[in-house]
Amino acid sequence: MFGYVSRRVLSAIPIALIAVTACFFILRLAPGGPFDGERALPPVTLANLRAHYNLDLPLIQQYFLYVGRLLQGDFGPSMVYNDFTVAQMLWIGLPFTLMLGFSAFIIGTIVGLVAGALSAVNQNKLPDYILVMLVMVGLVVPNFLMAAVLQLVFGVYLDWFPAGGWQNGSIAHLVLPVTVLVLPHAGRTARLMRGSMIEVLGTNYIRTAKAKGLGQRLILARHAIKPALLPVVSYLGPGLSYLLTGSLIVEQVFALPGIGKYFISAALNRDYGLVLGTTILYMFIILAVNLLVDIIYAWLDPKVRYH
């Protein structure tokens, strides 16, 4: 087990390095630079700025300088947000992104599992149709649209929840943004759960259990749920990654801090350091989540061996 985990962790390092390299060079291909604002900078100022951020060095030298610093845990300065280093920005934004992502993940998974299971048990009956319809709507409505609608209805007309912001960290501020994130995640989970549950309910051992006269609840609880969970669990890794990376629109609409928002503004402003920093952090999170899911999967499915 320990060997398995450490092998996985070690193999993540070259992946991360390749991605950082790709990202570093791809970004420089993009037109525009961090200092192309609305107003022209005097050439002297521009030269000073470029020298300050080492942008005047040959690209390859900049790359080694960056990687060298990175290996020492230094993400470098932000070129657009002068008052913070990239590491400082990430440390401030990360808790918000994680809080948002994880609360949506937990709620969405539970809602999705329950909805999917209910739907499967009532296959091709009215509750199934209604649930499938709801799930699909959750899946296909773009989240910026959902966010705007919820904001208007629950924030302005009904005035039940704050329409945005996170000024005092209260739960109420979380309700709308988390809901926007929960819907598609619950939809995806429910869709999978329904499929795999229907399949499990059709297998021979469930039929046998039914024939033995066991009650439906007992059959579900004891025999159906665990095998039906398998495909869902293998989805949870990517699912959580989507939530964490997908929160950027929610952060934008609800004016929440968070690394997704920093990433967008950094990419649009060509803040090279911050783009790389957020990408690395996201990658790290995704790798960690995938590892965690694999371990859970192995625990659920005894057929999987650590090889």
Binding site: D36, R39, S170
Partner: protein, 538 residues
């Protein structure tokens, strides 16, 4: 470990602020402030959203009143020499930083030296170039900072010497580039001085919390010299890029002031939030630049036809729905130091729109451009709802005169990169005046400066060039008599506009929305509203 600490800190801060807001009934102003501040260091800032924060925590020798006119700030009085070259400021008694350290003349000298220091690479240092040797130091030609025209006569007296008489200099001193910075803090912590915990203020407020991407909170500073007259206890400057969401939050009572509105909502706001709309002209021009190094745009007639065919009367009221005023000249109406100059009007102003189109069409046909063989050009703009609408409308107007405009939008950085590189035919630009003086917009059309074998055109993206215009503007910089100076600049404006050096489209309108709870908000030409003049009732 560190994560849990941060989470705990967030939670604690949340609870504390909840407690605070419920216990003491502090008056809090919630301001939707647009983008994330890039920096609140006055030497690094570049946007109005940064200015709103900086101007509340730092105060220069001169400050703005509610109308954004220059009034004494940290200085109690000033004297100007006969020749208009030497300004002597006396600091108020007892002005101090929020940590109790006195504000001295040395802080100002330090601040100006830091502003011009090439290592600081301040974007806006050029605004203070009227100061003697300022530009030379910024360009690295002079390395001895003591040669700068800012001197401390004693702890209480600042003497500023200028290159030439500058009628708008007092107004220029209200700009954040002229604010003092705390030498004693910067000496200790360097560039980290603007971080909460290090930062000190000499203005009415002190920043106490900063969550990037969310908000900055400033609380009233008791050490400010006029603290007794400051009504609002705390200000939250919220980061909010999504304007539709901003209006929703305003309506939900979460914001007291909006500094911008979503397009298409102006009518709705006027109807449904009566008395809360503060839409007023302010000094700025929205314009299109034409690349005059490319064929056939070097031809004045082509530029004139393009300008004539734009129906400016429908853009503000109909396309944008906000009612921006059509612009035909280059200096916004209401600009100071421009008294006695008639607003510029092109010779074709008297024609109806149909007549203008007919004439423009004739011009273009004369050059061989017709509907069947149109002049094809690329119209570039930076991504934004309003810019897009205007571009779509103008492209359709130009279609009538045999011009086919392809639209191309890109992010701000890419757009301005292309404009500066001359990689465009027609491009969108805008200019908000840094200070109220005609030279601030006319400088946009000045010739490029030869540098390292290339010409640096600065903000003159269209590369307009006219020696007569150049001579008039140069002459104006040394002219001491304000009326004569205005005349020279007025003549210059006429030359540039007759030649359509750029196509002005409309004068900007400030689009503030202010809650009825807030009093003291005055629409003004600079669109600067310092919190110290506001008050709020619950």
């Amino acid at each position: 470990m560190k994560l849990t600490q941060t989470l705990t800190a967030v939670a604690t801060a949340g609870m504390l602020s909840l407690l605070m807001s419920s216990a003491a009934s502090a008056v809090t102003l919630n301001m939707m402030n647009g983008s994330e501040p890039g920096s609140i260091d006055p030497h690094q800032a570049s946007g109005d959203w940064e200015n709103r924060i900086i101007g509340d925590y730092l105060e220069g020798l001169m400050a703005e009143d509610a109308n954004a006119e220059a009034i004494p700030g940290q200085a109690e009085s000033y004297e100007i020499s006969e020749d208009g070259l030497v300004y002597t400021f006396k600091l108020r008694d007892g002005v101090q930083w929020s940590d109790g350290t006195p504000v001295t003349a040395g802080d100002f000298v330090f601040a100006f030296q830091r502003l011009f220091n090439p290592a600081t690479a301040s974007d806006y240092a050029y605004l203070q170039f009227p100061i003697k040797n300022g530009s030379e130091i910024a360009e690295g030609a002079i390395t001895d900072f003591n040669e700068l025209g800012v001197k401390a006569i004693d702890d209480k007296t600042v003497e500023i010497t200028l290159e030439g008489p500058t009628p708008f200099f007092l107004q220029a001193l209200t700009h954040y580039t002229a604010y003092p910075v705390p030498k004693h803090v910067i000496d200790k912590v360097g560039d980290q001085w603007t971080q909460v915990g290090n930062i000190v203020s000499n203005g009415p407020y002190t920043p106490t919390e900063w969550t990037p991407g969310s908000y900055i909170k400033s609380v009233k500073s008791e050490t400010y010299w006029d603290a007794a007259n400051v009504q609002i206890d705390e200000v939250n400057y919220f980061v909010q890029d999504d304007l539709a969401a901003a209006l929703s939050r305003y309506r939900a009572g979460e914001y007291d002031i909006l500094v911008d509105i979503p397009s298409d909502q102006a009518e709705w706001i006027k109807t449904n939030l009566p008395g809360q709309d503060y839409f007023a002209p302010f000094l700025g021009v929205y314009y299109y630049v034409i690349n005059q190094e490319k064929q056939p745009f070097d031809n004045v007639e082509v530029r004139k036809a393009l300008s004539m065919a734009i129906n400016r009367d429908v853009i503000g009221p109909d396309v944008l729905g906000t009612g921006e005023v059509p612009a035909y000249g280059w200096v916004p109406p209401g600009t100071a130091n421009y008294e006695g100059v008639e607003p510029y009007q092109p010779e074709w102003i008297g024609l109806s729109y149909e007549e203008r189109v007919a004439e423009a069409k004739t011009i273009m046909e004369g050059l061989g451009y017709t509907a069947s063989s149109p002049l094809t050009l690329q119209l570039k703009y930076n991504t934004n709802d309003n810019h897009q609408r205007i571009a779509v409308a103008i492209a359709s107007m130009w279609e009538q005169i045999g011009v086919k405009a392809e639209l191309f939008n890109s992010e701000t950085a890419v757009h301005y990169d292309a404009l500066r590189a001359g990689d465009f035919e027609v491009g969108r630009a805008g200019w908000l005046l840094d200070y109220s003086d005609p030279s601030n917009t006319l400088d946009l059309l000045r010739q490029g400066i030869a540098q390292d074998g290339a010409t640096n055109w600065g903000n003159n993206y269209g590369r307009y060039s006219n020696d007569e215009f150049e001579a008039l503007v140069d002459q104006a910089t040394t002219e001491q008599d304000l009326a004569a100076r205005a005349k020279l600049l007025g003549d210059a404006e006429k030359i540039a506009m007759d030649e359509v050096g750029a196509i002005p489209i409309y004068w900007y309108i400030a689009q503030n929305v202010v809650s009825p709870k807030v009093t003291g908000f005055v629409s003004n030409a600079s669109d600067i509203h310092r919190t110290r003049w506001l008050s709020k009732s619950e």
